[in-house]
């Protein structure tokens, strides 16, 4: 028996799956940032900060590839845009680590 999702045209199915993944990752990001109670007053453990940045990178990748349609562009353009996102997050991660080391 085919699920309702399987009956949709492939591009629509891809959009819906991407959306569900993005929503799920946003919730994971919020959970890994430990927003509840006293944990919010503490610095994030390194694994949590890492997970946060990794899921952010993956979400940005999905928006670029599927929502913006970069999947249909040349590999060079894909690399340029994904590279810029990774560079940005690398800058942020470096600053974050230096701040943690300095305290």
């Amino acid at each position: 028996m085919r699920t309702p999702l399987a009956t949709l045209p492939s591009p629509t199915r891809r959009l819906l799956i991407t959306w569900a993944v993005l929503m799920g990752l946003t919730l994971v990001t919020m959970l890994s940032a430990q927003l509840g109670g006293d944990a919010r007053l503490q610095a994030l453990p390194l694994w949590s900060a890492g997970l946060l940045l990794l899921s952010t990178a993956f979400k940005a990748h999905q928006v670029l590839m599927t929502y913006l349609g970069l999947r249909d562009a040349s590999a060079a353009w894909q690399g340029a845009f994904i590279g810029l996102v990774l560079f940005t997050l690398l800058l942020v991660a470096s600053g974050y680590l230096l701040a943690q080391l300095g305290s």
Binding site: M30, L44, Y67, A73, W77, L91, V92, Y96
Partner: protein
């Protein structure tokens, strides 16, 4: 691998005659805008992370005053709005203008929800006396979220305009702008609200 290369080489360019931009889908000028916006925000995010090194206590204490759940809700709202914009592009691709307008209306409505949540957040912060000049963190908070907010307002105007003057190119261009707004928020939210 060889087969994949062959397929890539045989695929016609989406925008022939645009030089290096020929290989990008949709309106090439929109990609120039997206790239330049991403570079500007990357510079601001890098500066934010750099300044945090010297003022970590101030940044962390200030971040505690933000509402990360409201920011998270706004992320979910904007992602769903982005889905609606992408579905509008698919609908106009099938020449289904009525359905396209419906998806655009949905994207617009969720964009308005984003704005309402953001305005409530600003009102709360300003009510607490937290101004852009309060400290470096809040300067960046208002600067980055305010700049993004301006893009959301512009995007809403663009969506309304293309819903009125509907065509495949118009809808695709407005949707690309809207996805860029989405993309910037995806980066902004964890950096400003969550990372501590």
């Amino acid at each position: 691998m060889a087969q994949r290369q062959e397929t890539t080489q045989q695929r016609p360019l989406p925008n022939p005659g645009w030089g290096p931009l020929s290989a990008l889908p949709g309106n090439p000028l929109m990609w120039v805008l997206i790239l330049s916006e991403m570079v500007v925000f990357a510079a601001f995010f890098g500066l934010f992370a750099w300044l945090r090194i010297g003022e970590r206590e101030v940044f962390d204490a200030s971040q505690q005053l933000l509402d990360p759940v409201a920011g998270g809700i706004n992320t979910l709202v904007l992602l769903t709005s982005g889905l609606f914009a992408a579905l509008a592009v698919q609908a106009i691709g099938r020449d289904d203008k009525r359905r396209c307008r419906q998806w655009l209306a949905g994207a617009f409505a969720l964009g308005v929800v984003f704005c309402v949540v953001k305005v409530m957040e600003y009102a709360d912060k300003l009510g607490q006396g937290l101004m852009p000049e309060t400290n470096t963190f809040f300067t960046f908070y208002y600067l980055l979220t305010g700049f993004h907010f301006a893009h959301v307002l512009f995007g809403l105007g663009l969506i309304a305009l293309v819903a009125w003057r509907i065509s495949h190119d118009n809808v695709e261009t407005a949707a690309a702008f809207w996805h860029m707004v989405d993309l910037i928020w995806i980066l902004l939210y964890p950096i400003i609200y969550l990372l501590r």
